[in-house]
């Protein structure tokens, strides 16, 4: 079975995540080719055909044009599967290809079991195993779910792809992530507030515990979106990826995007009323309790030591 891997290029650089696509293809032992809107001076390390379109000509985000270029590569390569990362680039482009090819699309694959893709649903509380019934499939894989043991190696055989298509949307630039203030990536102890804190006043309980432990406080996305905690303290895919000695997740159910940002911490404590919350999958200790009652008691006992 032939597979086409869709690599990504952003802000003038090849995205290193292409190695995850290679890992996925290797796990399935398929013959892989790669597609990239990028530049010949920054090629992926990969042995096989690379369908390369010039980013200087076609832009970094131009979905209609990238779709046409990718369809051009698909026409030449005739792959049975087209693999994207489940990323801001992948989930934007993949459905366009699925519609064009009349192919089944399966999003955010975390594993292959019994030869079928597995995806998380309902905030990762459940899993679905899916069987595509079309000859071709379009797949997106979850960031971090597939990895190579070492660094990728090889030199691709470049095949140029071009199109005269134009698109109606245009990427005019980038805005960098705000990184002023606290840098959670350097903290050894982090206590984070999740949706379970309930209201902004309760963030103080999380701050008090962080202080009692001599650490920093952080937050999950909903708490930052609500404006209760500033963005530079957000932990997760769109915030900081942290690896402290101790991570205490207070009222955080454990969405994949949050877990991706903290699961490599040395020791993880979850405090949650829901025993089945996905945070339990990564926590060394899960305290089943209402944080509003538990945190003040824990903080007092720590301060009294």
């Amino acid at each position: 079975m032939k597979t086409l891997l869709v690599a990504e290029f952003r802000e003038g650089k090849l995205r290193a995540e292409y190695s995850q696509l290679i890992a996925f293809a290797q796990q399935q032992q398929t013959e892989a080719a790669m597609f990239l809107v990028g530049t010949a001076s920054d090629l992926p390390k990969f042995n096989g055909p690379l369908y390369l379109a010039d980013v200087a000509k076609y832009g970094e985000y131009n979905p209609t044009v990238h779709k046409k270029l990718l369809l051009e590569a698909i026409d030449k390569e005739q792959p049975a599967q087209i693999i994207f990362l489940h990323s801001s680039y992948g989930w934007d482009l993949a459905p366009r290809i699925a519609v064009a090819l009349q192919a089944a699309q399966i999003s955010e694959i975390i594993a292959i079991e019994d030869g079928l893709p597995v995806i998380p649903v309902c905030n990762a509380k459940l899993r679905r195993r899916i069987k595509a019934t079309t000859p071709r499939t379009v797949l997106t894989i979850q960031a971090g779910a597939f990895g190579l043991d070492g660094d990728p190696e090889g030199v691709p055989t470049v095949v140029a792809v071009d199109t005269d298509a134009s698109g109606k949307v245009q990427c005019t630039g980038y805005e960098a992530a705000k990184i002023e203030g606290v840098d959670l990536t350097k903290a050894e102890i982090i206590v984070s507030a999740g949706r379970g804190v309930g209201k902004p006043e309760n963030v103080a309980m999380v701050q008090a515990l962080a202080k009692a432990l001599g650490g920093e406080y952080g937050a999950s996305r909903p708490v930052v979106d609500a404006g209760w905690v500033e963005h530079n303290r957000q932990v997760g895919t769109t915030g900081s990826t942290v690896t402290p000695k101790l991570y205490v997740a207070c009222g955080i159910s454990g969405a994949i995007q949050h877990l991706a940002g903290m699961k490599k911490s040395d020791f993880i404590v979850g405090i949650n009323t829901d025993k089945d919350a996905p945070i339990g999958e990564v926590a060394n200790v899960l305290v089943v309790a209402d944080l509003k009652q538990f945190l003040p008691v824990l903080t007092e006992k720590l301060n009294a030591r």
Partner: protein, 256 residues
């Protein structure tokens, strides 16, 4: 201008889920239901756009069984002008492309200037439907927006990217925009607006996928295996605190 907002009803994600009899999805019984969180941002952005341009007509569409009139009513109370309910008791069995085909079937030839929807649903989370609607209609789509500005047919949005940076994207209507969390602060419907919403038009339509055939099937839906090793502490609060402190002393160096 004409605006369409596509919303979905989903279970509260804190719910206690059970697998259905066929082993293909969650059991729909005994769940608390709400509007898909991402779609709340879509509704809010549409209402704000109407407040900005004044002359705008907001249609909110939802596919599902009779109970989905609840989120439609909420959207009407937030400020949408009319509701469309595609009455489909089987909506939970349909794959994203069939849902997109139904929406596109409704939207074609109606010349919506902007279609807002959530970037994904909280239950299926495919992130496919919005883009597929745009492809079927042959119009632009920009996904995962966290900032939106409109001026006389031109749009300017920010897309959220990995690592917290954003892409600045410009375009023109007609366009489908899929909304990411944090795009705005969705309003709570006020009591007078909830009363007013009861008088707004609610159109009920039969489901029509335009002959879109099935492309995939669920082989199994199940709970993930609990990974061993994690200790679960339950009991009285003071004892829990003592146990946790003891564990931190034994297993970590942070209380040294």
């Amino acid at each position: 201008m004409k605006i369409l907002i596509c919303i979905k009803q989903v279970p509260d994600m804190e719910s206690k889920f059970k697998i259905n009899g066929e082993g293909t999805w969650y059991d729909q019984a005994d769940l608390a239901w709400r509007m898909n969180e991402y779609d709340e941002y879509a509704v809010e952005q549409a209402v704000r756009l109407k407040e900005q341009v004044k002359d705008a007509d907001l249609t909110v569409l939802c596919i599902g069984p009779d109970q989905v009139t609840e989120p439609i009513k909420k959207a009407l109370a937030m400020g949408c002008d009319r509701g469309v309910h595609i009455a489909d008791p089987d909506s939970s069995k349909r794959e994203p492309i069939a849902i997109a085909a139904m929406i596109a079937g409704f939207a074609k030839e109606k010349n919506f200037d902007i279609i807002f929807t959530g970037m994904q649903s909280q239950d299926r989370g495919s992130a496919q439907v919005g883009v597929m609607v745009a492809e079927f209609l042959g119009i632009s789509a920009v996904t995962t927006i966290v900032d939106f500005a409109y001026d006389n047919g031109a749009i300017q949005v920010k897309r959220e990217l990995e690592g917290g940076s954003k892409a600045l994207v410009t375009g023109t209507t007609p366009v489908v925009l899929t909304c990411q969390l944090g795009l705005n602060t969705p309003r709570y419907p006020t009591l007078p607006n909830i009363m007013k919403a009861k008088k707004k038009e609610l159109l009920v339509l039969a489901p029509d996928t335009g002959g879109m055939g099935a492309r995939q099937e669920t082989a199994a839906c199940y709970f993930p295996e609990k990974k061993g090793g994690g200790l679960v502490l339950e009991g009285e609060i003071p004892e829990l605190a003592d146990k946790l402190i003891q564990l931190l002393k034994e297993k970590t160096s942070v209380l040294a």
